[in-house]
Symmetry: none
Subunit: 203 residues, 4 copies
């Protein structure tokens, strides 16, 4: 009788899955060590102990590898505070985002943003990734609306996007460092705009 994985197991355990893990792991390692520019298919294949053709069979290019990696990262979602105050919750959220941008994930996000400029597939993947995250984070804003801390016309996702925009601006345009002060200010500015009625749904 052939061995069967027990039901409930998320991923198959065969050779294919072992290859996938080896490649993703090698991608993560090279990315952290040498940056996106040094991330070539050949090096990934070598580092993963896998044939180049095997990598190409399953991923189009390094951007595809990054998407695979991102899918894994997406599992570890940013935690959502619930302090009873929307101001406090968004401040904490902004700090969490800044924390996420630091370290390996930050480099990954940067590389993916750069890539998505030229690569529609990557762009679509990124859009989806952030849409989901923003939707999740918007829950905190909704709670604030329900508590009467924010006008009811406010578009929750729009607030989250307003919160994230300055962080991206710094990371991508001015390349200034991100810290908790910047994060707090971004949260405060988003809330101010929301209360001034500039982030309403039908605006």
């Amino acid at each position: 009788m052939v061995h069967r994985p027990p039901p409930g197991t998320l991923r198959p355990q065969g050779r294919t899955e072992r290859v996938r893990q080896a490649v993703v792991s090698a991608t993560r390692g090279l990315l952290a060590a040498d940056g996106y520019d040094a991330l070539t298919i050949e090096r990934v294949a070598d580092a993963a102990g896998v044939a180049k053709s095997t990598v190409y069979r399953r991923w189009r290019d390094t951007a595809g590898l990054m998407m695979e990696l991102m899918r894994e990262v997406a599992g570890a979602a940013i935690p959502l505070a619930d302090s009873g105050s929307v101001d406090e919750d968004l401040r904490v959220l902004a700090i969490e985002i800044v924390k996420f941008f630091s370290g390996t994930s930050g480099a990954m996000v940067l590389a993916l943003v750069a890539e998505s400029v030229h690569n529609p597939d990557t762009a679509a993947g990124m859009r989806e990734f952030w849409a989901e995250r923003n939707e999740r984070a918007a829950i905190a804003v909704r709670r604030g609306i329900d508590r009467g801390e924010l006008p009811s016309e406010v578009d929750p996702v729009e607030v989250i996007r307003a919160l994230g925009a300055p962080l991206y601006y710094r990371m991508l345009v001015t390349h200034e460092p991100l810290d908790d002060v910047v994060a707090a200010r971004a949260a405060a500015a988003a809330l101010a705009a929301a209360r001034a009625g500039t982030l309403s749904r039908s605006d």
Copy 2:
């Protein structure tokens, strides 16, 4: 006898300048036609009718060519309105920025942002480019402060950056189209944040 440019002319007219113009022009053409990815030194040299080594002698890489091109674009600065109302002036400014992002300049900016992720030189060039522009645009905010439309603690450049951030966010992260409505909203949000005291100098 060697030809000499008449005094008073801004750029020298010799072979060197002719080469520079040919290269920049070829860069612009290839960029518009095939996008940044197709912008290789070899193709630029070919299109400019110039030896590859000549290009290398004066620009390090395609990013360098882009910077050269950007310097030309920088000449045509964004006009600054002076309607007597800071809200109106910033609204117009945001619309001008959106207009600037559309068309060839937008593609160029996108490419440069993507490049600056990996390339410190480009990053520095971009930083300088935008610092200058923002400084110029901040004049409108200063006028508003002087007229008492905004608190005196407001950091004028920070307001301009807050105005630009959502536009970049859309252009780079969500790849949504930019229009006048978005521009107006960005201006309003920045002003709201400024009036709420979240964009102050020593904040």
Copy 3:
């Protein structure tokens, strides 16, 4: 009830045979259409609607496929004239050989000769194939000897080989076209050599 082949049919009719025919047919088709260089196992398998592993299970390489094909071609042997004159019989034979070399079989023979340079298996198969054919054709020479048209010491097979040599020379070395005139000349030269005593058995 399973279909059974009528007794006397040479080949079994099962799945195995269907596969064999599909593969041979695909080989013939690809060979005629795109030449030997384009004859890869993968393409043959695809064209035959058969799994690659199935082809590999039964044939070592494309040369093996060619041999299979040749075995089919070998069934249609070159007809042997019997006019009463060895000169006439060999002239007709040479023309038949030239005819055989034209068309698909010619391409196949060329490819097999080229292959046999590197591949001992193919070389052995070719040797056997031609030995059998030459042996058959030598009958005409023997008849000539019996009739006293040729010296009795003449080696019949050697005459056939002498007849074929110039045809191969043209086909392989000079790539000149083969026609009836060339064929007739080859036959005449072989006969002349035979009568001059240069194609004798113990020579």
Copy 4:
């Protein structure tokens, strides 16, 4: 002052020529050591201590390398005997040809013949190569005609080709070894055919 090659030197002495020699030499070595099948561009480049792209820049494929090698070999032409007897001269010539076919040159010729089946460029090169050689060898036949040893209508080149044909036949079709006896017989057969009038000019 730039170094100049002394006049009369056949080949330039620059980098390009050094590369050429390294590649040809590596080709010869690999061919002799491992045979034509093991002759890949990559291995040649490695063995020559040269970049793969450099090889590709100047030769289309391994067949091109072989042609280059053949051009060098062509310099060392087969010597032409002049004993006063055409029979003897052709016998010696045939033996020389057999000698040429043995050793490295033989493997090279075999590989080129195989290649020329598929590759028109190689075919053309081979044709030219042999045309020149045959033309040279035909001188011996012409001398025989002048001495009255052969009929005046005989086509000298055709005799040479008739002489070579059986040698090729053995080498390519039957893969039998070539020796002096075979060579002598080939020469005798060609002469017999010539005297019988089957190798005449307007035949």
